[in-house]
Amino acid sequence: MCYTLTNDLEKLGLLARAIRQSVVRSLAEAGSGHLGGSLGSADIFTTLYFSVIRHTPDEPLWPGRDRFILSIGHIAPVLYATLAEAGYFRKEELLSLRKLGSRLQGHPGRDHQLPGLELSAGSLGQGLSVSVGMALALKMDRLDNRVYCLCGDGELQEGSVWEAAMSAAHHKLNNLTVIIDRNSLQIDGSTEKVMALEPLKKKWEAFGWQALECDGHDFRSLLPAFNKARMELLHPSVIIAKTVMGKGIASIEGDYRWHGKAPTKEQAVAFLRELEGGIQNIEH
């Protein structure tokens, strides 16, 4: 049975909050890992796994599933939290993140048999090419499954991303949607200072894509973008989702120093309290 998807904004808000809480808990327990991007993309993950992607957590390799590739492996904690929330494995397992023998590797590793994981990822600039391959295979077999790939914005500095972008448009892969987590930050600071990406939408359009922009924290903005991507007949679609790194914890929002940091246990207590306090994403 395909997972029941919802467009109920309140439900989505609660799910996003639960995912953020899991992220904070698992990172505090691990003592290391990437908090900023994991919190910042939690609403995108919620949209994907609870409103957009056809999938079956109790049968991860169901042939009818839509495919999801996380190209930025470092935000694995939010992927794991989402998979657990959807029922791929028990939430208790999230506390094994980054520990010896865990299926929840620091960056996703496919040899650890985690259900729901299609690809190992960590070294940047590969996920989109793999997604192109999946989309091509589906077209060859005349199947209507869709392929979704989440890329970071800093990742777009990898040249291979643009090889993939060129090829997806060349093959008219309208079954492919890429989401860019556009938080405008990377390890060394602002993306525009490190290596400017703008005008980003125009770049994708010049490469032959349908380029859409949306607020990556507002389901009322995210959902129509995914719908529009699904309707497109000739081109692959990119959704440039504007996000805030660390979203949900006011004291760390937009602070690039939280790219690769985990909260201490004391910080985690405060962060969890803050998340409990208000449901994000409904009133924006």
Partner: protein, 319 residues
Amino acid sequence: MKEYTNSGSKDTRSGFGEAMHELGKTNPDVVALCADLTPSMKLDAFARDFPDRFIEVGIAEANMICIAAGLTIGGKIPFTGTFANFSTARVYDQIRQSVAYSNKNVKICASHAGITLGEDGATHQNMEDLGMMKMLQNMTVINPCDFNQTKAATLAIAKYVGPVYLRFGRPKVPNFTPPDQQFEIGKALVLNEGTDVSIFATGHLVWKALEACRILGEEGISSEVINIHTIKPLDDEAILASVRKTGCVVTAEEHERNGGLGDSIAQLLARKYPLPVEMVAVDDSFGESGTPEELMKKFGLDTPDVIRAVKAVMARKKS
């Protein structure tokens, strides 16, 4: 010694191309990808007759490797085609993460390997590829010796599930193995039985080893010649069985000594059965322009080099 006849020299890459065309007819899951080298890779016939299963990726090898990884998720059996340098060095991280670590059923097929690429020179003459690929977990590494064997190997890897690196070459070389052979991955082939020395050869050096064996035979030296077409997994048992009989070893390959077949065999022997080893291989050097024959001579990969190595190792055995 056992007689081997050249049935007419052919390039190993054409063996690959012929097998691909056959696979196109027999296996609907086989997909070929090429990075703007379709004629060189001998993929023209496949591209012509199976256009829906031929993906031209342009000059974008990193993209090609990862697209291939993605195709496997839909149950396809992708064969990527470009030169050895662009099949390995250029895309090592893509292979490492998206193919090997992700354990995807991708067949990385590399032509123009080694020094015999010839006139194009060192930028294109990759002699580190076997080392790079054998270091990757999950990767099977195959280096067949002639046209017939390359064809058989190509057909065999389509049936095997898991990442494979298949290496072959550009020049026409003697074609001497049977046309109808069954290729067994990981199984060393004893081409000539002998008692004085074991010569383990791979790729284009197998024929040279047979030539050396014949000449040495005339001098009363009995060489065992073994074709190691699969570098990984190495056929430990066949190698150990031979050296227990002969007591000394020559390895021969068109590759850097560091990281090549000789290095794999020396490791095995150091652990299990130490004895003298000489290696016919490239000695820490980039290649250069020249004809394949000239280069094999200059870089010490010719029949006389194998003979010299045999004599050297036998002298060490005696002392």
